[in-house]
Symmetry: C2
Subunit: 273 residues, 2 copies
């Protein structure tokens, strides 16, 4: 999917919501457990209930991988069920030497047909660029994550002081490998105080923003500080939506939760775009 | 496997060789292609031919993942075929927020039963510590990798200058989360000039060393500079061993290549231990 197509979806749906499909087999509603593939059945109903309210789905690959071969089948079926006009993100946080990253690109872009994959920057250029080979396929590079451990290295001050922090250097260096048409960045909503620094380096790039809701980030803050003229934001919500209810009404409650976020987003698009 | 058991194996076999099982379905000898599971059959013969000459096997997970569910079956059978007294490394380079890293730990340590997994440090403590929960299970953290892109971020000089570079801070900080009994570090042989800096920070830890052979690192240099009193090195070789021949004699030639490395290692153990 191209940047223009993504922006068009955002305008049409008045939403920049990404729904995380971190489907934990231990958290499934009981009545799904005797279906043939309970994880897929859960995802199918979540997708059907939310597809008109969100512009992206993001399965975290760990949840599927942990189930062995069965999990990969559930993931593959889930991906096929997502409508073509919705952006798909393999939240895999991969990154390895060139020929290995090439294989991961094959796994996620060819064997499966994700639009994008999250990638860790530590190994540098030749671990990232193999994912940039195809039009319409995206790298989403970890820059400033939403977890407590993001303090350990991402916020280390650098010697030359220009830029000041490691995450800023990651943005600056990686921006020379790619364009806003094939690279996005993960920037946690819990780090809204740094979003202006991010925008100073990558004004046009889309940011994938986790950490709103359960992790305490503010949707209003990140929208006000992070939105650019093509929106430039995909804000992820997982638990607040897919686990809004653990009963028979899980899909209905997921829709209600997604609708609430979408309505808030419609206001911010009005206000900040 | 404990550190003492690993060291015992090293002394017994006079070897600190790790064989990389990056088995590419496109590089298999032709006569294997009509076996039931050619990737497993290749690995099985490589393992049978080299198990007395090496102390570790390291499948790079990308090569299996790229094949979809079939690949995971090949990997699982390969792992079961590796003798119990040989250390196993899931070269997966994972790293995600806490609950997700917990799932990866489940996938690689429980669903499969690897002794260790390679982990990327960028997301910090809560992305790494979930892998440290069990005795005899190891994290192998990326510190200074062997690829050209390692220059991009790992070698960035830090503001306070103590330590000087990012990879040194990764060693220093992560050493407070773990012990030499449950954490090792990836340090590329192409970076032998920095091994003394590594040893100044983590004198007792095992280092997993890629980059000897095809990538140009010297086994003698890394052994002289990196060996500690319990050896402290696992030196990986992949292509020079598993692809020593592409014919019917691939296993025999793999053994010859492994034997040559093992004999060189026996000398260095004599000389530097």
């Amino acid at each position: 999917m191209t940047r223009a197509q993504l922006f068009e979806q955002i305008l049409q749906k008045k939403s920049y919501l990404c729904v995380g499909l971190d489907t934990d087999p231990e958290k499934l509603p009981e009545h799904l457990l005797d279906t043939e593939d309970p994880v897929f059945e859960f995802n199918r109903q979540i997708i059907d209930a939310t597809a008109d309210l969100c512009v992206a789905y993001k399965p975290n690959i760990a949840f599927y991988e942990a189930q062995g071969p069965v999990g990969w089948m559930s993931l593959s079926k889930t991906l096929q069920h997502i409508p073509d006009n919705i952006f798909t993100i393999a939240d895999a946080k991969r990154g390895d030497i060139g020929n290995t990253s090439e294989l991961y690109a094959r796994a996620f872009f060819d064997t499966m047909s994700f639009d994008s994959i999250t990638v860790a920057p530590y190994m540098g250029s030749d671990s990232v660029t193999p994912f940039l080979r195809k039009e319409g396929k995206w790298v989403i590079l970890l820059a400033l994550t939403s977890n407590p451990g993001s303090q350990d290295f991402q916020m280390l001050p650098l010697k030359n002081g220009e830029p000041e922090y490691l995450f800023e250097q990651v943005l600056k260096t990686s921006a020379t490998w790619a364009t806003p048409d094939n690279m996005m960045y993960v920037v946690g909503a819990t780090r809204a105080d740094f979003v202006e620094r991010v925008r100073a380096i990558v004004p046009d790039s889309f940011l994938l923003v986790p950490g709103v809701g359960a992790q305490g980030g503010s949707l209003e803050d990140i929208s006000r500080l992070g939105m650019n003229k093509e929106c430039g934001l995909l804000v992820n919500s997982t638990r607040a939506i897919i686990y809004a209810s653990s009963g028979r009404d899980f899909a209905e409650k997921a829709r209600e939760a997604a609708l609430e976020v979408q309505q808030e987003m419609a206001q911010y698009l009005e206000k900040f775009l």
